[in-house]
Amino acid sequence: MKTFRKKWLQRTSREIHSPKSLSRRTFLIRGSVALGSGAVLGLLPLSCVRKATEEERKNFPLPDVKTEYRRTICTHCSVGCGIIAELQNGVWTGQEPDYDSPLNLGAHCCKGAAARSHGLGERRLKFPMKLVNGAWVRLSWKQAIDEIGDRLLKIRAESGPDALFFCGSSKASNEGAYLQGKFAALWGTNNVDNQARICHSTTVDGVANTWGYGAMTNSYNDMRNSKAMLFLGSNAAEAHPVAMQHILRAKEDGSKMIVVDPRFTRTAAHADIYARLRSGTDIPFIYGLLWHIFKNGWEDKEYIARRVYAMDQIRREVEKWPPEEVENVTGVPKEKVFEIAQTMAKNRPGTIIWCMGITQHHMASHTTRLFCVLQLALGNIGVSGGGANIFRGHDNVQGATDVGPNCHTLSCYYGLAEGSWKHWCRVWSLDYEWVKSRFDMTRQYDAGGGKTAYTMNMPGIPVSRWIDGVLEDKANLSQRDNLRAVIFQGMACNSQTRGVEMKKALEKLDLLVISDPFPTHMAVMSDRKNDTYLLPTCTQYETYGSATASNRSLQWREKVIDPLYESLPDHVILYKLAKKLGFADELCKNIKVTNDEPLIEDLLREINRGAWTIGYTGQSPERLKLHAQHRRTFDPRTLKAEAGPCKGDYYGLPWPCWGKPEMKHPGTPILYDPSKPVAEGGLVFRANWGMDYNGQSLLAGGVYSKGSELKDGYPEFDAEILKKLGWWDDLTPEEKKEAEGKNWKTDLSGGIQRVVIKHGCAPFGNGRARCHVWTYPDPIPVHREPLYTPRFDLVKKYPTYPDRKAFFRLPTRYASIQSVDHSTKYPLIFTSGRLTEYEGGGEEQRSDAWLAKLQPEMFAEVNPKDANNAGISDGQYIWLEGAEGGRIKVRAMVTQRVGPGTVWTPFHFGGWFQGKDLYEKYPQGTAPYTRGEACNTATTYGYDSVTQMQETKATLCRITPA
């Protein structure tokens, strides 16, 4: 009986404080302790048992001391679990289940259950520090801000504003993330980004280009209504554990659960059908499903006729994918493909779920579109129980995608065109010319595709490519100079690929600033000696604000405890820096500032004033606080409050929540669902690409949302259309003044939206979802082999793109990499994924004793066949070498969880580099309890052709015993 797996690497207790004891590492088989008659106590290594010390038991509840309660939202993933914190005298003493929350109903995975450890904060960065000749020295906040500011101003003077790369965070609140984006804009660069780039950027772009918005269409809760659930590249049981509560209940109600993944995940263990496919072959797999769907006439013909554009072109591509070819390319047996197609067809509504297993590929923007096409063919979009349930990663990555710092668009998907800047300048009450003057307007640069542009109107360097912004020959860059300064506020560098080159980039930088609760892998991985600053930044439990869960619901967080040690919240640090850099007044023109702290509520109100595109306008702080208070009144299946003070609202006012807060729009629980009036959360597909294309209409045919006065498709609304329809006089005189010459996205009075919705219409028009995206490199998705493919024989038939000269300001390679057969030297597929206990770069959780002891060591899953071929046995150290030469030393876990030919590692580890523990390089007392190789030290080149998403899920490696 095999009863253990990843936890057989139980690290011993004393080691956590001292790296010297690493040599005494011992392992125990925990499963047998718990299961059998248990006669193994004597086998326990003695170092495993230790006296409980007083320090370990601190912050516990005392009798006869008043206990206060604060409600916040878990900061670990996008499910948005409520947390009830117990406090005594300002100390976080306990945690209770938030059973009133309709999202988690009190449930937590280990990360949520460990939230209180943030109140202990033993391994936190405690005060500002800098490197002086390789040693960490303590600074005051004033010194730190002054020194960083002086260096930034010097670099700006020498190399222009684009020499800075500022990475914001999807761990920040909406307000913090919004301010990060605004900060970069007023500094004068688009070189600003956040985790969303490497999380779901390909989803956001691909899905938005299909039907309007690039977000989860339904919700975790709504999955309870699904009859079939198809998981691709999603390991919900480990990445979104509490979502499984809804998923398993759907399954208990008879829903068919299908998991397609290269790895037999813990989610797959609960599935009715599991199929193992080769990494990076999702497009052929979906075409394989569509082949059966079209062949058997299972498609929803009426739905397609009325709501979809260019499905016929998909049919033509499908013809290229008969079952044999699908099996040849994907490795999934053709019977299985048929079974899955049939299950999806016979069990409707069905939903499709995908995560980073899909998005982190070099053709992922096309993969995500094809997933949408599958759902459109089945008529599964815009219905309860259906949808594209895209599980986002971080707790506020949806919010940071929407309002936050992005290099390719201003807040809320307004883009970077002149009109977009002018819109936000009006919201900010700033002179457009002044903002323009902050940018490098000396000349235009190559914007790719034969165009040139000013950097203000050109996407900046994305976080996936910042290392190339540093290392690339500056003659090849579409900006004045290389990146010389990098600020990371709430981002782990070990989540980006090509660690070996990252080390070089770090060493070349003139200035590195890390603003984070922990020093992070970034502080230790390079051999920098000077000009490196650490700014202690508090977690979201030490401040307050809103966060957007994956289902687009905004939730209000209360502050639990005061910032620990000398740490400060994101928005305070940004304000202090802006003050030093000379644009603090502009940054907070409409925002009240007290003691260098911009008022969070005012920040949200400013978002409300500008975010018309996606309806972030109705979620005022007051409404969000009311929802938090009355969360019990929302139904966990529909998320609707049937009674009480929030009657009619959907929990968290899932965006779009149209119009001003006073309009009391209830939020949109399911996107594109025409069965409800728009005023009650109904919607149709967005008409975002004109009226017709190539002679075919892009407007919906005879479909409209309930109660609509227009009984057919219609374009998006502007002042002129309102006048033509005779609706103009429904506006108040004040609204008319503001709305004149504007459209539904730029009318700051909200009048256009209000009137349009009053007439039952959707402000963004009523269009068709499109299968053909003519602005994309592949207008119809086609399969392209990974750049580092184990099937070089397929490259000829399914080649990648030609190299590109200027793409997000950088040369980007495709064919020049793929044209070489790397599989002879590196025969194994290398892919990565999540562990329940950790998240992202893992710094927070690996610094948490309760979680660290559950996952004490970095490892790689290797199939027994590959292990035997390489002469590797279970538990031994191996060298895993990526196809570009990066090497990591990890434990081998020999398991059938991965198929032959595939090696899998978790991506949360850091603190080691190519075999060396970097313990000594952390500031004293801040090294995480568990450290290990960052898997991305061994990952390789490869970037999505639309968004610059990094390729982490399909590359190559080889393994040898260490």
Binding site: F4, G38, R50, E56, L105
Partner: protein
């Protein structure tokens, strides 16, 4: 009279370790001790199942039967507790326990272990309810506060149920009926002499 029981629904357990961490949080048990574990069978292959295991608070607890100093006692709710002032750390209970529940935090050499530690069903110990002394020795006493074990209350999928045995059975039977599977109330036969209902004769 209510009788407290634990039940882990293996069809729902996703091995997220939420229960283990909730326990660590609530009682701040030291590194090296886990009052609760999640055990996975058939790891990584078809048929993989996980269950969360801790002291089951057995009827006729075998640990109590073998204890040479008689440190165990059962509360009227059926919760099996022990008195650490009496415990001599002999480890007999560990050998007797079918669930591997007893844990030994201290000690320098074999046969010289410290006081045994185990799941208390969040009911503390013999010391005054929710006193500092009780917290230090046994952890928090939620039962005295009218609450149930935090591991069950925080379970990610409501796989782990902890409370009045009748309600626990009721919920579990409802789930079984819905799923159409057979009852696999793991550990119940051993802990509570519970026999799953035999199929009725036609």
């Amino acid at each position: 009279m209510a009788r407290m029981k634990f039940l882990c629904d293996a069809e729902r357990c996703i091995e997220c370790n939420g229960c283990v961490t909730a326990c660590n949080n609530e009682h701040d048990v030291p590194w090296g001790i886990n009052r609760r574990h999640v055990v996975t069978l058939n790891d990584g292959v078809s048929g993989e199942k996980s269950i969360s295991v801790a002291c089951m608070h057995c009827t006729d607890a075998p640990c109590a039967a073998v204890c040479p100093v008689d440190c165990f006692y059962t509360t009227p709710d059926g919760i099996v507790l022990h008195d650490k002032d009496l415990c001599i750390g002999c480890g007999y209970c560990f050998y007797a326990c079918p669930f591997g529940a007893p844990q030994f935090p201290e000690g320098n050499a074999f046969a010289e272990r410290g006081k045994m530690d185990k799941c208390t069903f969040c009911a503390g110990g013999p010391l005054p309810d929710n006193s500092v002394e009780e917290y230090r020795m046994y952890g928090r006493n939620r039962i005295a506060e009218g609450k149930l074990p935090l591991c069950a209350e925080m379970c990610a999928t409501k796989a782990l149920l902890g409370g009045d045995g009748n309600i626990v059975s009721e919920i579990y039977i409802q789930r079984i009926t819905k799923r159409g599977g057979k009852s696999q109330a793991w550990g119940w036969e051993t802990a509570y002499h519970f026999k799953p209902a035999k199929e009725k004769n036609p």
